[in-house]
Symmetry: C2
DNA sequence: CTGTAGGTTTGACGTAAATCATTTGTACAA
DNA sequence: TTGTACAAATGATTTACGTCAAACCTACAG
């Protein structure tokens, strides 16, 4: 068993603003048989290499509303999401909030050359995640250069998503933003091997707004409009069916009607 | 001399939409004595290693309006900016434009695991840049793992900037955007060893607008307002003096008055 | 110097989305 | 079942920013 104390990145979080402190609720897991092994960073490591990894790693579960770390916390660990969903956000002093990303099964989190986390990571749906202290991660990278390569690819892909999001935030209309977002959610579900078309939308309208640079009301109205025009259909269980994919894609691309 | 043919990433660009085709105008350069060596990716390589690099590399100059590559071009090379300034942008079908970044001396460009460039790279001020075919770059990375590390750090920093920009685009007012932008420009100038306070603004109001998700008119009005309230002063040669730094920072942070 | 062209500023007006307010829907506890 | 609490939808109104239009400024060519 590892002597890793398990509180890196989770230390001393005051129960500020209604957030429950993030406490480990479970411990387990050898990496070789990990659920997300093929999708995650670890995909590039062999069974042997993974064996060693498990010793440095700790798996925890978190409830909705829990926070893995806050913006400004000193960087202590990185995480791999094994199940559940997270949102990452930045705040302005007066409370305005921008969600910079949603994380799902297989996603990697917390790789940061800076001293402090640049955003808060809060649980949307119960999360199972393994964490690795930053210094151990750095050692690992130094030992296995292919890891560095893998991380570089992941970072580049994230960067491409971020640039797409800038286009959305800077230049798209409310409807175009909603359409783009739903299509993105759908594609991501598919990538994860989950149902793509009636796509499950695990976040609130408020979170969608904070991701898309809109208010709740505008999100709601835009969705209603898409529904009314027959492009989408709202289903049970927070699921959205994309009824007219071509139209949806045209709208998302800014070429709608 | 290298047998590198010199047209990777520059092949067959039609003179579309008023853009001048990007043609090499100069060839030169051994990397060891390079101007930006200490700032650029190459900083992690030794003199010996750099000696080899020079053979794979080609240095060209580009005029304002030239395009290094277009969004959608298949990725052929990466670049290091030795002098000048560039803008990167994405377009919507109807011409709406989002500038995703400005590049200056020492910046790296074109590292991409995808098959196509995700944005167009256009010259703002005469650029001197060296280019390296993507496959050679990949070989280099495989040979020198520390390069991969370096690139990962650069990508992570870029990602942090992108997230900051999302906050700006999604949640800040016009004034806050302008203030944030000018402060960012100033800090970047400083990093490059150039004058930070009367900061030179090498891009047009239109480019600023397309970067900040605003129209030219709103950019102009916001600048006028900052000027009127005594926070900034416009100087000769497209330079802006930040007269009240504290106020400027408060405004940029969303905490202004 | 004079004309021309591009960028910038300023003004008048329109509008998409924000704000404020209320109603409706939904999940869950007693 | 009823009550409670919070999320979502809808309506009424305001507003920050966009659009349209004109004037102004600066640079450069002849």
């Amino acid at each position: 068993m590892s002597d890793f104390s398990g509180d890196a990145g989770l230390r001393d979080i005051a129960d500020s603003g209604g957030y429950a402190p993030a406490l480990p609720r479970d411990v387990s897991s050898p990496c070789v048989s990990c659920d997300v092994r093929t999708q995650a960073v670890c995909a590039v490591l062999t069974d042997d290499e993974l064996g060693g990894l498990a010793q440095l790693t700790q798996t925890n579960t978190y409830e909705a509303g829990d926070t893995l770390f806050f913006e400004g916390d000193s960087v202590g660990a990185c995480f791999i999401v094994q199940a559940g969903a997270l949102k990452l956000y930045k705040l302005l002093p007066d409370g305005r909030r921008q969600i910079t990303g949603f994380l799902f099964k297989g996603d990697f989190l917390g790789m940061n050359p800076a001293a402090e986390y640049g955003y808060t990571a809060e649980v949307l749906e119960p999360v199972k995640a393994c964490s690795l202290p930053s210094d151990k991660m750095q050692e690992l990278i130094d030992t296995y250069p292919k890891l560095s390569n893998r991380l570089l690819n992941l970072a580049s892909m994230e960067l491409a998503v971020a640039q797409e999001q800038m286009l959305l935030l800077g230049r798209k209309t409310a409807q175009e933003r909603i359409a783009s977002f739903l299509l993105w959610l759908s594609r991501r579900s598919e990538d994860r091997g989950e149902q793509a078309n009636p796509v499950r939308v695990p976040m609130s309208r408020s979170d969608m707004g904070d991701y898309l640079g809109l208010t709740v009301e505008t999100v709601s109205r835009s969705i209603t409009k898409l529904k009314t025009s027959g492009v989408i259909t709202l289903k049970e269980g927070n699921r959205v069916e994309i009824s007219d994919l071509d139209m949806m894609e045209a709208i998302a691309a800014g070429d709608g009607a």
